[in-house]
């Protein structure tokens, strides 16, 4: 029974992807991509990866979806930057892509058996971190360097987006509110945020031991903030505003500070003293959640469109 469900899900995912690519209307294609993201989240549940499922639905589907919808609205049919390919050219490309898929499929089918896994190693080391969720342990302990650098990647993307403002507006506030705020949006913006914040805090809190964590919680908080800004209840801040910059930097900075303390109090950079591991990791996650929320929301909001208040 579950196999049938899996087969249906896979077929639906592939069909939706083809639909997204083939759909001539851009807006419909992007809406289909949003649906694809939600469905993909379901796939991750079937792969026994609830942490990824939450991330995929929140960021991969939701976040990217909003971003693309806003871009489509701004561009509206003016995005034609290349000559359409000839049918023969497309056929050749399709053949090449099919070959890549086939090769990849073959690789998936012939993966070595028994499958190599780090699950036992991750499980054995879990005690030293005090955490219950192995994915969080990988992200914030075993492979914390990746996570640290990836936070810098997000910050850099934001700086890059901000650098696209005209010189005179740099440091000013982005524009998020549409020309006319639809009624339902304004209503949601008044009702949802308190619940959203509670859900976000809950997701962060359980992340140590159950599915959830900084990104998922950060995305929920970011979505609430965006909703409030879009409804015009609270204007987006100037990008040069010190408080905003401190929130953005706070998470990675605390992460780095604790990482350096590892030189003194533990086995080196990014090592935690065993007794303190869990509280330290929770502190890092709390600061990162706020930073991620601010960064994701500002990434969607885009570069400054108003001159800064000086």
């Amino acid at each position: 029974m579950t196999t049938l469900l899996d087969l249906a899900l896979v077929a639906w995912l592939l069909a939706l992807a083809v639909h997204v690519v083939a759909q001539p209307d851009e807006r419909s294609a992007i809406v289909a991509f949003l649906a694809f993201g939600l469905l993909l989240g379901l796939g991750w549940v079937r792969l026994a990866a609830p942490d990824v499922a939450l991330t995929e639905i929140a960021i991969g589907g939701g976040g990217t979806g909003i971003l693309l919808l806003r871009a489509e609205a701004a561009l509206r049919g003016r995005d034609k930057n290349a000559e359409p390919m000839s049918t023969a050219g497309k056929a050749a490309v399709a053949l090449g892509c099919a070959a890549v898929s086939a090769g990849l499929g073959l690789a998936v089918l012939t993966f070595s058996s028994p499958p190599p896994t780090l699950a036992p190693a991750a499980s054995a080391a879990l005690g030293a971190t005090g955490l219950g969720n192995p994915v969080t342990a990988v992200l914030l302990a075993y492979r914390a360097l990746d996570t640290l650098l990836e936070k810098v990647v997000v910050l850099l993307a934001l700086i890059g987006v901000w650098s696209l403002a005209p010189d005179g507006l740099w440091g000013g506030a982005p524009e998020v509110k549409p020309a006319a705020v639809p009624g339902p949006l304004a209503y949601l913006a008044r009702v949802l945020p308190p619940f959203g914040v509670v859900i976000g805090v809950y997701m962060f809190w359980v992340g140590a031991d159950a599915p959830g964590g900084t990104f998922q919680a950060g995305t929920v908080l970011a979505a609430m903030w965006l909703l409030v800004m879009m409804a015009g209840l609270y204007p987006p801040p100037d990008t040069a505003r010190p408080l905003l910059r401190l929130v953005l930097v706070g998470g990675p900075a605390l992460f780095l500070a604790i990482a350096f303390l590892g030189f003194v109090f533990a086995d080196g950079f990014l090592a935690y003293p065993e007794a303190m591991a869990k509280p330290l990791i929770l502190a890092i996650e709390a600061a990162l959640t706020l930073s991620v929320a601010a960064a994701l929301a500002m990434l969607v909001a885009g570069p400054a469109r108003k001159a800064p208040a000086r």
Binding site: T3, V10, L13, L14, A17, V18, V20, A29, F33, F36, G43, W44, L47, A48, D51, V52, T55, I59, G60, G63, L67, L68, R70, A71, A74, R78, D79, N81, E83, P84, V93, A94, G96, C97, V100, S101, L104, V108, F111, P115, P116, T117, A119, P120, A122, S123, V138, L139, R143, D146, E150, V153, V154, A157, L158, V161, L164, L299, G302, P303
Partner: protein, 111 residues
């Protein structure tokens, strides 16, 4: 035959298919926004391959190997950041070339 129907294999094959579809979109689409969408489909396919690897690696009481799962979470966030930067560049480009699309088209083919 039943081996193919394990989620760890089935979704891996789905990922392989999505990689092909995404790659096709990135190479052939005319609009840059749609190429960005193509990149996202390609990325989703790659992540599913990681997911299949994770599912196969179930053990030690976990239903899936946590390491590839964590890699995917990192990957999804990086992919989102990339989309955000690409979209911002695209919007700025369209603002700047607004009203002078002929020139923009010439640039595209001339550069």
């Amino acid at each position: 035959m039943t081996a193919v129907l394990q989620p760890g294999v089935l979704f891996g094959l789905c990922g392989a298919g999505l990689v092909g579809i995404g790659l096709f979109a990135v190479v052939t689409q005319t609009g840059l926004l749609r190429r960005i969408v193509g990149c996202n489909i390609l990325g989703a396919g790659i992540f599913l391959v990681f997911g299949a690897v994770a599912r196969r690696g179930a053990g030690a009481g976990f239903d899936a190997d946590p390491v590839p799962q964590a890699l995917v979470i990192t990957g999804i966030v990086v992919a989102f950041s990339a989309s955000a930067l690409a979209v911002a560049l695209l919007k700025r480009l369209s603002e700047l070339t607004d009203g002078d699309r002929a020139e923009a088209a010439e640039r595209e083919s001339g550069s």
